[in-house]
């Protein structure tokens, strides 16, 4: 019996040991979390960044991206010029997985990369939670900021803080199946009213086709129409003040119009990124597609059979003529330094990111081999080579259209600092009504209420207009 009780003691001791180990692990985790949020200022100047490029001191930086393939040539160009700054790239999979993984390491406060790629929609959220380094500095604002367009430079700011460098911008354009429209003698519509008429005529002539679709898996496509129609659903002031205004007359007008287009079989509600969608898309089930400029690369890489059949134009204007056209963005990415990047590496990180986003050699690397990277930099937009570049796949000068769309982006728009919850609640609350005979406008008050409850629980100051 004595042995038996000793055995018990061994087990108990083990249990005790692991419990303590487990608890102390938790304890140390939250302590580090506290440190992270304390030091948010970058403390890097433009001259320090320039010195980091010239220095011969070896620095190793880690970078997370979901576009490791298309960035490779750009990063290689940097490495051959500045071999002392070694950049270790981690491919994170699809964009959606990227944010899950990034949020996860931030929460765990372990294995956080020095730099990460982000879409603009996700910037305020990570800036608010102090995962990203505020690199705001007068010299950086002046010397580096001047290389980008004003709008793009504003997009990497949150509440006066500077959180990254704009890589590419996603001004929306419309991709139309010219061949299918020609079959039915339909011209590419220039306003949403024309779009509606064209859609009714098309579906009547061929009930297997729709003028377009509205994505039920991604809120950005509906939001882009709102932005185009100058119907912002909220205003964000600073880091924590949000006014939710999702049920006003203007928003309701747009929502009712979308519902009408669905009811008239002009727009079909469809979840993208599915097999059914991909096959339907290849067959031209939806004759037009409104998406960010970056989508053209996907066409070139994945839809060779459509070569010469797709025409890019500006999306329909919200108003009575093409002159009323206002644009929006879908997607587009930036690069940010994280707060976990050690102090002695920050200058190199800033220099590297600014280089891959704005150096002419980097832009050239990103726009070779059939890829189009719409860079919101002066080096790209003011360069006659890019301005007049003919694209073989679309058989037209596509850059001219991207540039025009980019100039007309409606700037009266802000990004919610709780973007992931906004995207999830869109699917939970709005999408079930996004169907033929649905009552889309009727769920917007509920949507606003749900966001308000969530945001207040997260410490935001919410004003809600009814």
């Amino acid at each position: 019996m004595s042995w038996n009780s000793k055995g018990h003691k061994v087990v108990c001791a083990c249990v005790g040991f692991f419990m303590i180990a487990g608890l102390s692990a938790c304890g140390s985790g939250s302590n580090n979390g506290g440190n992270r949020s304390a030091g948010a200022e970058g403390g890097v100047t433009a001259s320090q960044a320039a010195a980091a490029l010239k220095s011969d001191k070896d620095v190793e930086l880690t970078l997370w991206t979901w576009q490791a393939d298309s960035l490779k040539s750009t990063i290689d160009a940097f490495q051959s010029k500045y071999p002392h700054i070694k950049v270790k790239v981690t491919a994170t999979g699809a964009a959606a997985d990227h944010y899950t993984k990034f949020s996860n390491v931030i929460k765990a406060n372990k294995d956080i990369p020095d730099m990460t790629m982000l879409e603009y929609d996700y910037l305020p959220q990570y800036a608010t939670t102090k995962a990203l380094l505020n690199i705001n500095d007068k010299s950086i604002e002046q010397q580096m900021g001047s290389r980008y367009t004003k709008a793009a430079w504003a997009d990497v700011h949150v509440a006066g803080g500077l959180y990254g460098f704009p890589m590419d911008q996603g001004p929306i354009v419309m991709y139309s199946r010219r061949d299918l429209l020609d079959q039915h003698g339909i011209a590419i519509p220039k306003t949403w009213d024309e779009f509606e008429q064209a859609g009714i005529a098309l579906h009547k002539a061929d009930p297997t086709r729709y003028m377009g679709y509205i994505d039920t898996a991604d809120v950005r496509y509906m939001a882009a129409i709102m932005r185009q129609a100058k119907a912002p659903m909220w205003q964000v002031k600073g880091l924590e003040n949000v006014t939710l205004d999702m049920t006003n007359k203007k928003v309701k007008e747009v929502v009712d119009f979308i519902q009408r287009l669905i009811d008239e079989d002009v727009l079909e509600p469809v979840a993208s990124k599915t097999d059914e969608y991909n096959r339907g898309f290849a067959e031209g089930r939806w004759v037009t597609k409104i998406d960010g400029a970056w989508r053209s690369s996907t066409y070139e890489k994945q839809q060779q059979s459509m070569k010469g059949k797709v025409e890019i134009t500006l999306p329909p204007a919200w108003g009575s003529s093409a002159a009323d056209f206002k644009s929006a963005t879908i997607g587009g990415s930036l690069f940010a330094v994280t707060t976990s990047c050690p102090k002695d590496k920050r200058a190199a990180a800033v220099a590297f990111l600014n280089w891959i986003c704005s150096d002419p050699a980097a832009i050239k690397a990103g726009n070779s081999e059939g890829g189009i990277r719409f860079s919101p930099t002066k080096a790209y937009l003011d360069d006659a080579t890019y301005q007049n570049q003919h694209n073989d796949y679309f058989n037209q000068n596509v850059n001219a259209i991207y540039m025009e769309s980019s100039k007309k982006i409606n700037t009266d728009w802000s990004i919610l600092p709780f973007n992931t919850q906004y995207a999830t609640s869109f699917k939970d609350i709005v999408v079930p009504e996004m169907k033929k005979g649905g009552k889309l406008a009727s769920v917007f008050p509920k949507w606003q209420e749900s966001l308000k409850t969530y945001a207040e629980g997260q410490g935001f100051k919410i004003t809600d207009k009814k």
């Binding site: 180990a21 949020s37 979840a271 599915t274 410490g459």
Partner: protein, 312 residues
């Protein structure tokens, strides 16, 4: 302790039989060490994460305002959360349909394999088991293609008869679509468990029944099934746990039918959404503990009923 006795048999020296009784106590001590690998994995994989989840659940971290101690607030909120109960409700309906159906079909298949009426029994046996080799996520992805109304196998078959296929991923049919996937994947596994239990039964048990002219059905009902009761209870428990913890299939279905599969479609999917899109890890931890507790209660009740049936 049985492992200790067996394992230390080799240590027993045949020349010293008189040392038998002190050695016996020594063996038990070694047993503790033999158990250690399991104890470590059990602690590291189950107990410590549970304690950690409880610890996380005691705090509240806001995007603005940082972290603070919240006591039991998160747990109370979880118990009152209508979205969590909505998810529970759904997996309960799922379990009520799936578990009996799975048990019935697997038993039927196992009894057929065991009936000795099938000539090359190895072939249907391996075919039945084959889908189990497909990971659940892949199975869900595959079926999401098959269910497609326009381009999927379903749509194509119905199109042959000039009919429109039913929308398997609609609000009404989604649960059935998921039950179908689950049965497709796991039926072979359950069948294998029943079949091996049936194989272990001594043939004399039902030989006399056969001589007396009892039908195969009668033998199955009165002799075979009662004899493998413990296997049946075990698989039912596994299937209930699986149903309550449903995650992979709805998570896959969410991409093809976001209008049906909400972020709180099942309790586990809700936990995942809270942590990763809601940025609320602490509340997610509390919810997952409530889910675990609820599962344990249901399992204990079912286990008690199962024991009663086994003791009959």
């Amino acid at each position: 302790m049985s492992t200790a006795v067996v394992a230390s048999d080799g240590v027993v020296s045949p020349q010293a039989p008189s040392e038998a009784s002190p050695r016996k106590e020594r063996l038990q001590h070694i047993g503790m060490i033999w158990c250690l690998p399991y104890v470590i994995v059990f602690l590291g994989g189950t107990i410590i994460p549970m304690i950690y989840a409880f610890y996380l659940g005691l705090f509240k971290e806001q995007m603005i305002g940082g972290e603070r101690f919240a006591g039991m607030t998160n747990f109370i909120r979880a118990i009152k959360d209508p979205l969590l109960w909505n998810g529970f409700n759904r997996v309960a309906i799922y379990a009520i349909i799936e578990v009996p159906l799975m048990t019935f079909l697997s038993l039927l298949a196992a009894l057929m394999l065991d009936s000795q009426r099938i000539r090359h029994v190895a072939i249907p046996r391996i075919l039945l088991f084959l889908p189990y080799a497909v990971p659940n996520v892949i199975a869900a992805l595959m079926w999401s293609y098959i269910y497609g109304r326009d381009y999927g196998l379903f749509g194509q078959v119905f199109a042959l008869f000039h009919a429109q296929a039913p929308n398997m991923i609609s609000k009404e049919l989604m649960l059935w679509a998921m039950i179908n996937i689950s049965i497709w994947v796991s039926m072979g596994y359950n069948t294998l468990i029943y079949y091996s239990s049936l194989k272990a039964l001594p043939e004399e048990l039902y030989e006399s029944a056969r001589v007396d002219g009892a039908s195969e059905f009668r033998i199955a009902w009165s002799i075979k099934i009662p004899q493998i009761r413990s296997s049946v209870v075990m698989t039912i428990l596994f299937n209930i746990i699986y149903s309550l913890q449903l995650f992979n299939t709805p998570s896959m279905m969410q991409t093809i039918a976001p209008e049906v599969v909400t972020s709180y479609y099942t309790p586990n999917l809700y936990t995942y959404s809270l942590a990763f899109s809601g940025n609320d890890l602490n509340y997610a931890a509390a919810v997952s503990l409530v889910v675990g507790l609820f599962t344990m209660i249901i399992i204990s009740v079912v286990k008690m009923l199962g024991n009663r049936w086994e003791e009959k």
